[in-house]
């Protein structure tokens, strides 16, 4: 079921198993037996709990006060007279919280919970090389609210990872949050003296990166296949919901009579062979792969005409399930690609991309942009506008006060004055800012780190810049340069980026020090504090696969994001009370 987790260089099944074991132990405790049939799962919402005829109700919650209010409401509305009475349990993910328990106590419901425990699921394995904490608000909390709770969880998660995969001997980092996480890791290690980890280290290096070191990348439109699916439809916990029309069963005679109305839900991960092959390609390179696959599959089905002997037919039949799966996978992705193509070939997508690319390559970043003005005048979605304005601001190391004020005024007049708080948040996060120093550092950074590549090859890429058709994600460039030739070569640029950069070494007992075989790749864990995009992941995978690259990457993050979901998390949701 989770074979894809063991497909990477680091077998993440161990982490998954540890998580499962912990959950099972808790369920055993609640149910009082080894059998726990989960009757149904509900989303937490205020009001009366659904009428399920069960003995145990378990709340799986993040330790947040607003969720405690919902739970309190649920518990208080429970019919005490019902029989059999339902037992309540609470499982805090990933950590029990004194604050929440105190709060429940003040509401007078703490005693209603028979078991209160924690499920230390910090890092959730998403794929063979991908871990996410799925903490939506991590970026907002860290950079807007100075609430470093998610960083504490990240450090705990890294400790769990080290307990399973060995102490990571080298830690590099860039940014305030990275520094904080590294400090906590070192401290946590010291808190348990004597508990010497005797596992041979799987990871050679940990690279901690603050999202605010590279605010640019998530703002740009991702152009890999997976990135575009996420940009357009939004991938939620590896699932995507797609408009159903393209997925109608193609049967003759039914003439599209009953088109499905429910969105088509698909799981996307490397367990699907075809998807693993195309997910990280530039979208322009996907079509040719799909048609090549189509030919191979129909050729394979044609084989049946050549099967003459019983043995040959038998062999053909035995391959049939695999072939059918491949065919349906191909059909699905052909449909998705068609859906995406409709959008990427639209004029507006093209204009938007052109402006983005102009900004990223440093053209006209210092004045009011016509396209943005037009979009505002036509009231395009606000998030699109915010992404563009922020992108311009970041690519210009801040906007001139006059330009900034003009954009802000346009936005407030068009979309409503309530967005003044959202604009304020974006300024606080550094996404939107007046140019204070009077100097634009971006060109220097762009040139030194080779962020803009004019000669990009989308079909057979030779550089990570293919993921944005020209722009090489800054964050991944930092990882690439760290592996070779090392950060010493880019000291000047590192100083221009926010936050400190650092290196820490964790001592290993002599028996565990690695003697690298010739040609064996190093393994680096890159942890994005504040979120990572699919395009960045694709770029790191590209680096892993590069011949003589020398390094393979595993990616961890607080949350998988794209520009839209990221900006959304920073918006202040003000709903006026109706007069």
């Amino acid at each position: 079921m989770a074979a894809h987790l063991s497909s990477g260089r680091v077998n993440l099944t161990a982490l998954r198993e540890a998580g499962r074991r912990e959950l099972r132990e808790f369920l055993d405790k609640c149910a009082g037996s080894k059998e726990h049939e989960v009757e149904k799962m509900f989303t937490l919402k205020p009001g009366r709990l659904p009428q399920a005829d069960v003995k145990n109700i378990i709340f799986f919650v993040r330790p947040k006060l607003e969720l405690m209010d919902i739970i309190t409401d649920n518990v208080l509305r429970e019919d005490r007279g019902r029989s059999p009475q339902r037992d309540f349990h609470i499982l805090f993910v990933p950590r029990r919280s004194l604050l929440c328990e105190q709060w429940l106590k003040e509401q007078g419901v703490l005693g209603s919970f028979i078991h209160r425990e924690q499920y230390s699921l910090d890092l959730i394995p998403f794929d063979g090389d991908l871990l996410s904490m799925e903490s939506e608000s991590a970026f907002k909390e860290c950079y807007l609210e100075s609430d470093q709770t998610s960083l504490y969880h990240a450090a705990k998660g890294l400790m769990t990872l080290q307990a399973l995969y060995g102490t990571i001997p080298q830690i590099f980092g860039k940014g305030e949050c990275a520094r904080h996480v590294a400090n906590m890791m070192i401290r946590m290690k010291r808190e348990f003296p004597g508990s010497q980890n005797s596992i041979f280290p799987v990871f050679d290096t940990l690279l901690l990166l603050d999202r605010n070191v590279d605010l640019l990348t998530p703002l740009a439109t991702q152009l890999t296949y997976e990135g575009l699916i996420d940009e357009i439809y939004g991938i939620q916990n590896t699932y995507v919901k797609l408009p159903p029309e393209k997925f109608a069963p193609k049967k003759q005679g039914e003439g599209g009579k009953d088109l499905p109305t429910e969105p088509k839900k698909l799981q996307l991960n490397s367990a699907e062979e075809l998807y693993a092959e195309i997910r990280d390609k530039n979208f322009n390179a996907v079509g040719s792969v799909l048609s090549k696959k189509a030919k191979i599959i129909s050729a394979a089905f044609e084989e049946r005409h050549h099967a003459k002997t019983v043995g040959e037919i038998k062999q053909f039949v035995s391959q049939l399930p695999h072939m059918q799966a491949a065919r349906s996978s191909l059909a699905n992705h052909t449909s998705i690609a068609e859906l995406i193509k409709d959008i990427t070939t639209s004029e507006d997508f093209f204009d938007n991309l052109t402006v983005e690319q102009e900004f990223m390559s440093g053209i006209d970043t210092d004045k009011v942009n016509n396209y943005i003005e037009d979009c505002i005048a036509q009231k395009h979605p606000l998030i699109k506008i915010l992404r563009l304005v922020c992108l311009q601001s970041v690519c210009n190391s801040g906007l001139k006060q006059k330009v900034l004020d003009h954009y802000k005024r346009e936005i407030l007049q068009t979309y409503g004055y309530e967005h003044v708080l959202t604009l304020n948040n974006l300024e606080k996060a550094g996404l939107l800012k007046p140019q204070t120093s009077g100097r634009n550092n971006y060109p220097t950074i762009r040139k030194t780190l080779r962020l803009w590549m004019d000669d990009v090859n989308e079909q057979n890429p030779n550089d990570i810049s293919y993921v944005y058709s020209g722009y090489a994600p800054l964050s991944v460039r930092l990882a690439q340069l760290l592996a070779r030739p090392g950060w010493r070569s880019i000291e000047e640029v590192l100083k221009m980026l926010p936050g400190p950069h650092f290196e820490e070494r964790q001592q290993l007992p002599t028996g565990l020090q690695k003697k690298r075989q010739h040609g064996e790749n190093r393994v680096t864990l890159v942890f994005f504090l504040g979120g990572v995009t699919y395009a960045e992941i694709a770029a790191l995978r590209f680096l892993s696969q590069m011949e003589d690259g020398g390094t393979e990457y595993v990616i961890a993050t607080t949350k998988l994001i794209n520009g839209t979901s990221w900006i959304k998390s920073l918006m202040e949701k003000l709903e006026p009370a109706p007069f």
């Binding site: 330790p63 006060l65 607003e66 950590r95 029990r96 919280s97 004194l98 604050l99 105190q102 609210e145 100075s146 609430d147 470093q148 709770t149 960083l151 504490y152 450090a155 904080h180 400090n183 906590m184 401290r187 010291r190 808190e191 348990f192 003296p193 004597g194 508990s195 003005e373 037009d374 505002i376 005048a377 036509q378 009231k379 004020d405 802000k408 005024r409 346009e410 407030l412 007049q413 068009t414 979309y415 409503g416 004055y417 309530e418 003044v420 708080l421 304020n424 202040e572 003000l574 709903e575 006026p576 009370a577 007069f579």
Partner: protein, 815 residues
Amino acid sequence: MGLARGIPGLLRGSQGCLWTLGPARGVLGLLGVSWYSHWSWGWLGGGHHPQPPRPCICHLSIHPPVCPSVAHSKFELYTMEWSLKEDLRDCMVAAAPYGGPIALLKNNTRKEKSPSARPLLEIYSASGLLLASMPWKSGQLVQLGWTASEDLLCIQEDGTVLIYNLFCEFMRHFSMGNEVLQNRVLEAKVFHTEYGTGVAILTGAHRFSLTTNIDDLKLRRMPEVPGLQKPPSCWAVLSQDRVTIVLLAVGQDLYLLDNTSCSVVTPPGMSPSAGAYLQMAVSFNYRCLALFTDTGYIWMGLATLKEKLCEFHSSVRSPPKQMVWCMRPRSRQRAVVVTWDRQLMVVGNSTECIQFVLDEDSYLVPELDGVRILSRTSHEFLHEIPEASQEIFKIASMAPGALLLEAQKEYEKESQKADEYLREIKDQKLLPEAVSQCIEAAGYEHEPDTQKSLLRAASFGKCFIDKFPPESFVRMCQDLRVLNAIRDYQIGIPLTFTQYKRLTVEVLLDRLVLRRLYPLAIRICEYLRLSEIQGVSRILAHWACYKVQQKDKSDEEVAHAINQKLGDTPGISYSEIAARAYDCGRTELAIKLLEYEPRSGEQVPLLLKMKRSKLALSKAIESGDTDLVYAVVLHLKNELNRGTFFMTLQNQPVALSLYRQFCKHQERETLKDLYNQDDNHQELGNFHVHSSYSEKRIEGRVGALQNALDEYYKAKNEFAAKATEDQIKLLRLQRHLQEDFDKPYLDLSLHDTVSNLILDGHHKRAEQLYREFKIPDKRYWWLKISALANRGDWEEMEKFSKSKKSPIGYLVRAF
């Protein structure tokens, strides 16, 4: 760090019920001397030091005894070091089981209360070394007893029970209730069950009260015995099926008191002419009961009173001083030891008994596998000889173990007989049994020399067996080494092997710690290779907790000494030691010790308890655990006044921002105060904008926005101020539009307001807004054209297009 580890499996015990005793030898010493010569040494008078020269064991040359039945033996554990002046009968005595300490209360009976004649409480080790003493200044004592964790219970006449540790240090006290206080305590008994240590009281009103666990005090008043006018002649606490009951005798009647009722019981097979009950005894495991009547009759049976095991008619009719059971777990033999002033009798399932003359006052201490006999000069142990030992040491025994022992001796003498003996065992294929027998028997020996010769024999025998698993031999060597160490009179814990196994090494370590014998405890841990966390760390932690109580040393010295010894041994919790220091009133020391605690999370609760809240706050922040920071912040909020609280937060930005988050969700008004305190006008402005949206009336909204406006000006944020001003202006305009056109305009954006106006054909009003809000031409054109197109008002469109030059050109792509 509780040491209340009890004794596991108190109730497990032997199953069998038949018992036969050897022929009555009648004479003191016969048992030991003539049958089992080597055992006699103890009680013949040799001390544990110096050892008397031992004759070689040559049972085989002595004729076997007439009766092959079970035997008991008695040997000396210690000559008592205590040099008592008083007779034991003049003292109140309590000795803890499992070779535990002895408490003596002297002068208790004297009535005059002059300070010089105050009762004196003394606590000795089992070898008679004084551990502590103190003049008894509290009330009249009725009974002394020991808890399972070796604390001394002093039961006063008024029902108050005072608890002291081994060193006469007061721990705590509790009361047995008002009823007991009013009617006084006549008699009291301390008992042990699986629930812990219990206390049972007989009051002056002839009622019983009891608690089964003094650590979880629940007082139970037992039902009344109908018509009881005088105290019962004897009584005992029984524990059956987890229920604690009282058995009492009044004259010829026996009564059983359970929680709710009182019933008369008759033991099966009790002769009607047996007479009145004088004494009763319950066995160590609560399974057996013995009753002594005034005709000298002894009934022995199950404590359930369902079955008689045996009976005995003694010639003595006077009430015995003490009567206790003497048996060995899993043995089928039963025996009861009865004492009078100068006589001790061991009786069982036989018409005859073993009798000893007592030279001195003696006091019996029942044990798991025998009876200890205490007197002014000596401390002896009486027990049934274990089977393995009997087999080996029985005269002319041909048991494999006996032959192996002999073989080994011959081998040492380089005699060929060794081979003969060995061959004899091997021919019967009994060599493994022989080895096991020797190992087992070694465990029952108190004399290291005998232990050694048995172990040597076992080791010798092992050589001739293929793959004899070595564990039992190694284990026994280790166990004996530990036992010999603790039996030394300086330590004075005369545990038998059986007791040691029941007690477990962990409990033994606890007991050494209780006696503050830290080095020995650590050496045992190291010797047995116990894990650090289970062994050495725990003991060091206890040592440290004791160390912090030494008031004569400075805080620095103590903290340093503790850190020197403990370092960062895994499993050591400095915060627990610090907590102990704080409990002893040494706050400064506690803080110093906490500095050694690497886990900030552990430092915080104690710091809060010691009211070092600010230090607690910085430690919580250091840990990175935001939840812990919250806990401290909320604690501070309750503890400090608002001003000080805010000031404290001001110096801790991490805590401040977390508290702000808390306020955002829970106390928005406080949030305002926080911003006010820092003169953070920008945030105050945002705050008011935020609140304006929860206003239900437009005046309220405008009012809140007006506040925001003021704050933005103070923050010198011209843009935000202007925007807010525009917003207020727009709201007012929208209200007029709403009134004028009776359509919803409120809370539309400026863009949508203008657009709606055009859609509805109010071009003038739209134009007015365009000018008033200085909408850029370009956007206004876009807006107007798309609105007009939506409306299909091509006429107006044409008019508009001619009015001015289009800033957006005329290629309108949108349509």
